[in-house]
């Protein structure tokens, strides 16, 4: 058989891996879509990200097939047939097809139709290096395909913080933002640098230079392998750009990005992966908007930017930020906020009160981050107000991510992974959520749920230490 197949067997991931927050949100949002198409350049951590998701699912509801170079349509059908026709295969079933770039043209042509014709109780996840590995545009037009590209596959500042926590590497949020900027969130570089930080006791951002100097060969190898299977013109264009022989024209960069050749896209603009390009990114300066806004949610509420606390003039303004931070997506409708904070007021007065509070919150943030950067952290639309979790890092959110990964690891018996994540989660939980703030029913409601999670973590830790060891 020309393929390596592991039906029902997921790739193993190391105990210190973390799920990428943007990827997880995307994956959950499109849970019912017939095909989720995950694309990322080599070293982006695609397989790991999907494997982490798969491990959190019910056992046996995911079948994993890794394709090998040259897999043709007949072999693919044989493989899929084995999985689909297996009487033990549960329904619904999600089939992950990894490395689909490596399959032959006939197999990729079949993949372009397969998800459209499959029964409703079969879903697919395709994992590829290049966007153009399979033509899924028909599915996109119809809303039956969701595509995760560069943004979702990148380590953001919060993901780097999560990874540092599980690795036990001390970090500052500014370090994380710096590392994100310098690597453009490339998993291969981020995880490498944090591991170096752990080994040599360096800060995450300082460790990057050490990692670069020791791992230059690894980067060269990963690029060389990608170029080997890329169209000759694309390979030559990337080399010409990286070696300064050619200008990085937008059309060329777009083509390289679609081919998975180390070109990132951000807000519609393309740029070569800074590590591959050998580019040293300038440091964040003090007033840089690149630093995340950090919310301390356990104990006394604090909002910190670059190590300096944001001061809210009125308690009401801080409470509104707290309320938003407690919402799963960091946002709430104006009506909901008025009901919560001006329950007995005339609706018009409530609306005016909310406008005043928003304005005061913006002013407080502007004093720290600059007026022009406020919208990076907060949006205030006619219907709703919200924090932008792209640029806002919340200790509570990190606690939840660690706890979810720990619970999933417990469920599949991966004790060392569970231990790593429970340890990180419990270190964040220094006191009950917003316990340093005046009583509010909406705090109590949410705080209780976090307390239950904390108790579960403590129980696990007690049992683990009682057992004396973890597997």
């Amino acid at each position: 058989m020309a393929v390596e197949r592991m039906p029902f067997a997921l790739p193993s991931v190391t105990s210190d891996t973390v799920s990428l927050t943007r990827f997880t949100d995307w994956f959950r949002s499109y849970a019912r879509v017939p095909l989720r198409y995950v694309i990322g350049q080599p070293g982006a951590g695609k397989t790991t990200a999907v494997a982490i998701w798969a491990q959190q699912q019910k056992v046996d509801n995911v079948a994993w097939i890794s394709l090998r170079a040259g897999t043709d349509d007949a072999e693919l059908v044989a493989l899929l047939g084995e999985v689909i026709e297996d009487p033990r295969a549960p329904r619904p079933l999600t089939i992950v097809l990894d490395d689909i770039d490596r399959a032959s043209a006939s197999a990729r042509s079949l993949l372009a139709e397969l998800y459209l014709r499959a029964p409703e109780n079969l879903q697919f996840i395709y994992v590829a290096r290049a966007f153009n590995a399979v033509d899924v545009i028909e599915g996109e037009q119809r809303g039956v395909v969701a595509v995760a590209g560069g943004t979702q596959m990148r380590f953001g500042a919060e993901d780097i913080a999560l990874f540092c926590e599980v690795m036990g590497v001390p970090f500052g949020h500014r370090d994380c933002a710096q590392l994100e900027l310098a690597t453009d969130g490339w998993a291969f570089a981020v995880t490498g640098a944090v591991r170096v930080a752990k080994a040599f006791g360096l800060s995450a951002s300082d460790a990057l230079e050490r990692w670069r100097s020791t791992q230059a060969r690894s980067v060269e190898r990963i690029v060389a392998e990608a170029l080997k299977v890329a169209p000759a013109r694309d390979a030559q264009d990337l080399l010409d750009i990286v070696e300064g022989r050619a200008e990085a024209a937008p059309a060329t960069l777009r083509r390289l990005a679609r081919g998975g050749l180390f070109v990132n896209t951000s807000e519609g603009a393309f740029a070569v992966n800074p590590i591959v390009a050998g580019r040293r990114t300038t440091c964040l300066d003090a007033a840089s908007p690149g630093s995340p806004l950090v919310l301390d949610m356990f104990g006394r509420f604090r909002v910190v930017h670059d190590g300096v606390e944001v001061r809210f003039l009125r308690r009401r303004d801080a409470q509104i930020v707290q309320y938003l931070a407690l919402q799963p997506q960091g946002r709430a409708t104006r009506a909901e906020l008025i009901r919560t904070f001006w329950p007995d007021a005339d609706p018009q007065l409530g609306a005016q009160g909310l406008r005043t509070a928003c304005s005061a919150i913006r002013r407080a943030l502007a004093a720290r981050v600059g007026r022009q950067n406020v919208d990076r952290y907060l949006f205030s639309a006619p219907a709703q107000i919200g924090l932008r979790f792209d640029a806002v890092v919340s200790s509570m959110h990190r606690f939840v991510v660690h706890a979810e990964l720990a619970v999933a690891a417990e469920a599949r018996g991966a004790s060392s992974t569970a231990l790593a994540h429970w340890t990180a989660a419990l270190q964040l939980y220094t006191a009950p959520v917003l316990s340093g703030e005046p009583f509010a029913w909406w705090i109590e409601e949410r705080a209780a749920a976090f307390e239950i999670l904390r108790q579960r973590g403590r129980r696990f830790m007690r049992e683990a230490s009682g057992a004396g060891a973890v597997s």
């Binding site: 079949l110 809303g143 006619p382």
Partner: protein
């Protein structure tokens, strides 16, 4: 002949599913269901609308509610008669009342088209047939007198947007919903894309639309490419010329594109090109990139209207519209900031007035952007530190055409050419279809003054031609 892939799919999954897959978040389309229901007595019906309008989704949602046996077949590219018969199978001679939907009729080869036309002319007993396609001209079924529906039963309205937003937990206001409908012409693929993007990123709906256009604009490109590939070459060429600015989107041209299902729709009795297609940014097909901006059409007599390619630009606030009107009456379309401040914010605090003008310019830009695309706004409207400019060609501005005819007529009279003068007076009188900027507050001195001057010129024209 079935393709190799079709055989593989059959091997893996057995018989084809009765209904095609649709988005899991799809919401019922009441107008389509009503139309299908009210025409249930007809044995053959036809639904045609441009790509991405949600034809397949709407029909599948309706079929799910039907009790009788049903089959929806999607024709593959270049589907011949044999494949058509294979796909439709027993549904073509049903033993009990059966609904058969044939989707994508424009993909059929001539022999398959002929077979479908024969079927429409004489459908088998107990068969209820619905043809679905991009263009109402894909099949020659004029003799079948079949009921036909178009985009009007598929277009998303503000209420549909609200329902889909609710499915995704996206909070919106009426204004945001209406703005999305207006910006997209209710195009399902865009509406759904914007809402999903807003939901997954936790951002407001207007940002969802902007981000979807930025990140997923390829979907629009592919819809255009696919449609052009299966279009009549003359229709495709007309579409390219209009998008390229080589041909004006006249009513006749737009009607032809609407018939061909090429992104033109009848909205409120006027055929318009979809604004997002019109504003299509540089994409994979260089041939689709407009080389020049399509000229503005400015109507000043009666109700003020600004259109680009048949699409009306809507200004959110009266103040924004007034500023555009003010500029439209200028020969060069230009006014200094000071002049605008004195006209629109007289006697107010200067700093507040300047802020007001900045806001107005931003709102005007947004209004143009919604119609022509943000990247092309500067071709129509620009504001720098000193002045604000509306770029319109005299040929598209009714006021300038009118003034030009009056001036020509006077010049002809002066030079002793009474016939030429009469022609120009007639043209001027015909252009004056109502009071200048009717409906605007005459309390604004510049409106009253300009309206009086125009009325005087029109009266003179009428006098000269003896009207």
């Amino acid at each position: 002949m079935r393709s190799r892939n079709a055989l593989h799919v059959q091997q893996l999954f057995g018989a084809e599913a009765e209904l095609p897959k649709i988005a899991p978040d799809a919401i019922p389309r009441p107008a389509l269901a009503r139309w299908l229901g009210s025409n249930g007595g007809h044995r053959v019906r036809m639904l045609s609308a441009p790509p991405g309008m949600g034809k397949t989704t709407g029909v599948v949602l309706w079929l799910r509610t039907c009790a009788e046996p049903r089959l929806c077949v999607e024709l593959p590219p270049a589907c011949d008669e044999r494949t058509l018969r294979e796909l439709c199978g027993k549904a073509l001679a049903p033993r009990e009342p059966t609904i058969l939907v044939i989707d994508g009729v424009e993909r059929a080869t001539p022999d398959a088209c002929a077979a479908m036309e024969r079927l429409a002319a004489d459908p088998p007993a107990r068969l209820n047939l619905v043809y679905v396609g991009r263009s109402r001209t894909s099949l020659d079924v004029r003799n079948a007198a079949l009921p036909a529906a178009g985009s009007d039963v598929l277009r998303f309205d503000a209420d549909d947007v609200r329902r889909l937003c609710e499915v995704h937990g996206v909070s919106t206001t009426d204004v945001e919903r209406v703005a999305l409908v207006r910006a997209s012409s209710g195009w399902a693929v865009v509406v759904a894309g914007a809402i999903r993007t807003a939901a997954v990123n936790g951002i407001p709906l207007p940002e969802g639309l902007a981000r979807w256009r930025r990140d997923d604009g390829r979907i629009i490109a592919s819809l255009i490419d696919d449609a052009l590939e299966t279009s009549d070459p003359d229709d495709a060429s007309l579409f390219r010329r209009i998008l390229g600015g080589d041909e004006l989107p006249t009513a006749l041209a737009l009607a032809r594109l609407a018939d061909a299902g090429l992104f033109a729709q009848d909205i409120g009795g006027r055929i318009r090109l979809n604004p997002l297609v019109l504003a299509f940014p540089s994409g994979p097909r260089a041939s689709l990139e407009p080389r020049e901006a399509i000229p503005l059409e400015i109507e000043v007599f009666g109700t003020f209207r600004v259109r680009v390619g048949g699409q009306e630009i809507r200004f959110a606030r009266r103040r924004d519209r007034n500023i555009v009107e003010f500029l439209a009456l200028r020969r060069d379309g230009k006014a200094s900031r000071t002049e605008l401040l004195e006209t629109f914010w007289p006697g107010g605090d200067r700093a507040l007035a300047r802020q007001g003008l900045r806001t107005a310019c931003s709102m005007i830009r947004r209004a143009f952007g919604a119609c022509v695309g943000e990247e092309r706004v500067s071709a129509y409207f620009e504001a720098d530190a000193a002045a604000v400019v509306l770029r319109s060609e005299a040929s598209g501005n009714r006021y300038h055409q009118f003034v030009e005819q009056v001036e020509r007529a006077r010049e002809a009279e002066r030079s002793g050419a009474p016939e030429a003068a009469e022609r120009s007076w007639s043209a001027a009188a015909a252009l004056y279809t109502g009071p200048l900027l009717a409906g605007e507050e005459v309390a604004m001195p510049w409106v009253a003054q300009a309206a009086r001057a125009a009325e005087a010129m029109a009266a003179e024209a009428r006098r000269r031609i003896g009207g």
